[in-house]
Symmetry: C2
Subunit: 308 residues, 2 copies
Amino acid sequence: MRVTALAGGTGAAKFLRGLVSCVNPRDVTVIGNTADDAEIWGLHVSPDLDTVTYALTGHLDTGRGWGIAEDSFNALAAVAVLGGETWFRLGDRDLATHIYRTRALRAGLSLTDVTAAIGRGLGLRVRLLPMSDDPVRTRLETPDGWLDFQHYFVREGARPRVIGVEYAGAEKAAPAPGVLDAIRTADVVIVCPSNPITSIGPILSVPGVREALHETNATVLAISPIVGGAPVSGPAGALMRACGLPVTAAGVARAYAPWLDLLVIDRRDIEETLAVREVGAEPVLGETILIDHDREVALARRVLEVAA
Amino acid sequence: MRVTALAGGTGAAKFLRGLVSCVNPRDVTVIGNTADDAEIWGLHVSPDLDTVTYALTGHLDTGRGWGIAEDSFNALAAVAVLGGETWFRLGDRDLATHIYRTRALRAGLSLTDVTAAIGRGLGLRVRLLPMSDDPVRTRLETPDGWLDFQHYFVREGARPRVIGVEYAGAEKAAPAPGVLDAIRTADVVIVCPSNPITSIGPILSVPGVREALHETNATVLAISPIVGGAPVSGPAGALMRACGLPVTAAGVARAYAPWLDLLVIDRRDIEETLAVREVGAEPVLGETILIDHDREVALARRVLEVAA
């Protein structure tokens, strides 16, 4: 069974860890969000791609949900002494990934190629594709003006009120090689439990992706990142609200409505089933709070079972 | 007493550590070699400037003679996993300096400004100037072709036979702001015990520097890095030979002859005094093997005493 997953960072990483315990990783393509990529210290950082790579190769710091386990922060401390920016915390081992990526991109490699090379180096067995080799950047409008995603999310701790969202560069971006094919030729397309606005939204904004989701013969299934009227983690709630979506499983279904077949919602959201169905997706109950690896595997198994 | 020193890396760092114990660091200008600067991992590394900065701020790993004491090498290990180049060993704290420098240079700052900013951040009290803000690069001709300095020195361990030396870019380079003035207005100009070919030679190759050394009213004094017919450290011997200079104190005097007043030679080279004098410099005996800080201070005191 060929599985293609649309993925953000932390939430996606947990689900994907379960998924690769249930299917052959060789049959899995992950399309990763790159709209929260940022230039930090002059280096190209791809937080979502790295979180997926680190998670699926056993390198992720699972406590923090980002970066490399047991990393040191000696370069960061030294940058602080020099008066450089330290709001984005890059660990020393993590830094190597960004140095490697930046150098390869400057040498003319595509983000697709660099992502594959990093995956090979770290032992990644799924195929991880960036959504696009072109720059697409999520920007958030606040009462004080526009913010880049990482400025909003990390530097400002997701505190500013968001009144608008844009995916800058999306109109001119091309899907990365393999992205549309992976959606069209999959048996199952899974939208991971990621932020619909800042993780999945940018992938959908890449020209051709929505059309491919419409056209594919695959079962298209999403896992709601909203449980009990609140996001499992991160700022999805405020951002969905800013985009006029209710912060509910039905709100998630609405974000994906035109092409979504199934929405896995948490058992405690059983009263949402009707609202989800009204938006046009078939609700499926599951345990979506992934507090340990057993839950990750159980959710993946449930997803594959209902998709089959 | 205003002192201007021409400096390479390790040997210069030891002498300068002694010097700043004897004079007010505010009265010292160090003109640093930048011809062994290199791009490593896409970052601008200035080994000699950093060695001087680290040495005079107590950060230098004195055992290795380069890098930061008690640094970790976690980024390097992670770059190795990705298959990146690891022949140039950058520590994690050291890396911060190069990241900071590269970013500032890309933002349009000059190497002079960046060097000053790094010095301020680390607490450097002397004025450290790069010899030029323009790229000058020492290249070494070997029987197998030309090598960049760091490829020759670090990657190849200074093993290839050298048959020629060039300072690429020197003709078009301008001395960095303050360099010529620091030579012209000093009371003493000290050529540190550095490699005459790859540390001091590039500084002399910058248009205007030799003329300033000719014109200055300062006493111009050098400390021989050659003791007992061999360099105290590094590949100075092979390189002097490649440039047709005898590997002796007199050979050092010859490299600096037209403008050198005094050459401090080691006591064990007493039989060199005549040969040095024949080249046109007045030899001065001293203890030039700097095995501890007391020796560093003693040599600096001796230098200042004879120069006065």
